[in-house]
């Protein structure tokens, strides 16, 4: 009797805690909505597609920021994913035992560096290097939209590089955990069939595929929200451009930069609406990756080694 009551209490308490998380998310959404209604009312859906951001005339459109956020994060993902997987495979499969701990420690150390330090390093070390690289781009290539514009050093390319460096420790440590959790029997079975080492690793990677995609998406989420380091090197110019050389802007950066001095109501509401968009986009990205993982599980008919919740646990 008492036992079942205790169980009930326990269940109730933990459920209440779980509900708090949900409540916080809802509260954030509602508050963002409430604080941005002036801008929502005035611009409606045009806010998503407008390209002009003019605080003086009170015209606000978020497209350049949405573009800058997604473009920089995707570029960072393209750079960071192979590197992260390489690190994860090396540490969990190939590295000599004595190197394993130090390497793990070093990649995790990258995650502990404050983003302002990345930003300063970006301004004083990375930017001059990128400018030299930009100057070295041969003329015919400069005609491509990807490389057009003056070589400023700061811009989309530099931001993507910084982001990639910041994302690597996250993606690689989750991917490493996943590879570590692939049952030894999988590899042994592969070897028994006469596989080479590379083929055995391919089997392990295939087994952990959905978890690894989770790891990559986690890195993407991290890149979407990164503010300080990006704003210091991206050039902060709201424009939609495919060029790696062009100064651009991200959503998190414009909020951080302009919030303190936003004097009039509409301006403030527009900035908070950017926050709302970022919130929506982040949720959408998360939901999509979940759906992707689930559909993959269904197709392969196999439970994932690490459930999504466990992935976040490792990375948090």
């Amino acid at each position: 009797m008492t036992r079942s009551r205790d169980d009930g209490m326990f269940r109730f308490t933990t459920a209440a805690f779980a509900a708090v998380v949900l409540l916080i998310v809802i509260a954030i959404g509602v508050e963002l909505w409430r604080q941005s209604f002036l801008s929502i009312e005035k611009f409606g859906l045009h806010f998503w597609t407008g390209t002009i951001w003019n605080p003086v005339s009170g015209q606000f459109g978020a497209l350049p920021f949405i573009w800058g956020t997604l473009y920089s994060s995707i570029l960072a993902l393209i750079i960071a994913t192979p590197i992260s997987l390489g690190i994860a495979v090396f540490i969990s499969e190939l590295s000599p035992q004595m190197l394993r701990q130090p390497l793990t420690y070093l990649t995790e150390l990258l995650a502990a560096i404050p983003s302002i330090v990345y930003g300063l390093w970006g301004i004083f070390v990375l930017t001059p290097i990128v400018r030299k690289l930009e100057l070295a781009v041969p003329d015919p290539l400069k005609k491509l939209p990807l490389f057009s514009g003056p070589p400023l050093g700061v811009g989309m390319g530099t931001a993507a590089l910084i982001l990639a460096i910041m994302v690597v420790p996250f993606t690689s440590s989750v991917a490493r955990e996943i590879l570590k959790n692939v049952p030894m029997a999988q590899r042994e079975a592969a070897y028994a069939l006469g596989s080479t080492r590379w083929e055995a690793i391919k089997v392990a990677l295939g087994y952990g595929k959905s978890g690894i995609i989770g790891a990559v998406m986690l890195g993407f989420g991290r890149a979407l929200g990164e503010t300080m380091a990006v704003t210091m090197v991206i050039g902060n110019n709201p424009q939609v451009s495919a060029s790696l050389f062009a100064p651009q802007y991200t959503m998190a950066a414009v909020i951080a930069n302009e919030f303190t001095e936003a004097a009039d109501e509409l301006y403030l509401h527009a900035l908070i609406e950017i926050g709302l968009l970022l919130f929506i986009i982040t949720i959408a990205v998360n939901a999509l990756s979940r759906l992707f993982i689930w559909s993959m599980q269904k197709r392969t008919g196999r439970t994932v080694i690490l459930r999504p919740a466990a992935i976040e646990e490792v990375a948090a």
Partner: protein
């Protein structure tokens, strides 16, 4: 798993820190009520003013004045906090606009603007050329993106005999809203009709060209790093980082380098025809020695103070800041207020009331 442990430790540490911080922050307001404790005033706003305020408020407390807790959260934030009644005074690098005035007046009645210091904005550049001369029109053409090479005819005409390189102009501006940007764009709007109609003057604007960098340290860093770079920042950043500053043509046709004296001279000229509300923008000020990109920074307070003790303390503080407090300005590279402006300030402060009554 390891990361998880670390992160738990980090969260615990952060929580402990923030609790400690809250406690620290809460004690002052707790003691304000006690009559025996010294009066404590809260202020917030301009980051530009912060170094000066730290010094002046510290000195004021040492001579027995009220204790002032100032938070440099940015001019716009300072005005909002004043309106919300969170702080006793706000500090802003630009006067309240119509909308801010309306909201503030609805919250606590009319406000008083008290100019407390002045600053000059340098136009720094990165070229192997000393003493580059620019005028308002050329500078605005550069920031409009119409001049893209350093050896453009307009720049060459201002710098006869100087060998200008064929380098591309790399325009740098502040990414975030700032008082510095307000003064700079006010100047461009004052000297260029095209700038005024296309861009305007504000703390943040839609820049026609260039790279946005965070903070004055970001702009100066970017200019230092980029051959052909040009940017604007408070004068002290140019000195600290050994960045060359352009000589600007002032309203009297003289080329002047940014200096404390140049800003003070510009301010003195402005005092002569100061509007009654002291919301003077004196960019492109007359006078042979006036530096054209100079401006005031203001403390903004409600004209009528509700709390007798705090109101009295605030009035005393303001009087100190605009008179004796000015001695700290020059060593910190602010321009001290000229005597005529100090007098106008005192006059404005004397209009303040406590619960509708003039202070005793």
């Amino acid at each position: 798993m390891k990361i998880r442990k670390i992160s738990i430790a980090a969260v615990a540490a952060a929580t402990a820190l923030s609790i400690a911080a809250c406690q620290k922050a809460e004690t002052p307001s707790g003691t304000t009520a006690a009559t025996s404790a010294p009066v404590r005033l809260q202020g917030a706003g301009s980051t530009f003013d912060t170094p000066l305020f730290s010094k002046v408020f510290d000195a004021y407390q040492k001579i027995g004045g009220a204790e002032v807790n100032y938070q440099s959260i940015g001019s716009g934030g300072g005005v909002q906090q004043l309106t919300a009644g969170v702080v006793d005074f706000g500090a802003s690098d630009f006067p309240l606009n119509d909308e801010q005035t309306r909201t503030a007046e609805a919250a606590g009645g009319p406000v008083v603007h008290v100019p407390v210091t002045m600053g000059a904005v340098s136009v720094g550049y990165n070229l192997p050329v000393d003493g580059l001369k620019l005028d308002g029109e050329t500078l605005s053409d550069i920031y409009l993106g119409k001049i893209t090479k350093w050896n453009a005819p307009k720049i060459a005409a201002l710098n006869p005999g100087v060998k200008l390189p064929d380098t591309a102009v790399a325009v740098v501006h502040r990414a975030e809203g700032s008082g510095t940007t307000f003064i700079f764009t006010s100047y461009l709007a004052a000297v260029s009709p095209e700038w005024k109609s296309k861009v305007g003057a504000a703390g943040s604007v839609q820049w026609p060209t260039g790279v946005g960098a965070k903070g004055s340290e970001g702009v100066s860093g970017q200019v230092m790093n980029t051959p052909g770079g040009i940017g604007y920042f408070e004068m002290s950043y140019a000195d600290q980082n050994h960045i060359k500053s352009a000589l600007l043509k002032n309203a009297s046709g003289k080329f002047v380098a940014p200096s404390v004296k140049g800003a003070a001279d510009a301010g003195a000229g402005a005092a002569a025809n100061m509007p009654a509300d002291l919301k003077a923008i004196f960019v492109n000020a007359p006078g042979d020695t006036s530096y054209p990109i100079s401006g005031f920074s203001w403390i903004v307070v409600f004209k009528d103070q509700k709390d007798a003790t705090k109101g009295k303390a605030l009035i005393d503080l303001l009087k100190y800041v605009v008179t004796d407090g000015q001695q700290f300005a020059e060593p910190l590279e602010y321009a001290p207020l000229p005597k005529p402006v100090q007098d106008l300030d005192l006059k404005a402060i004397s209009t303040m009331t406590i619960a509708g009554q003039p202070p005793k």
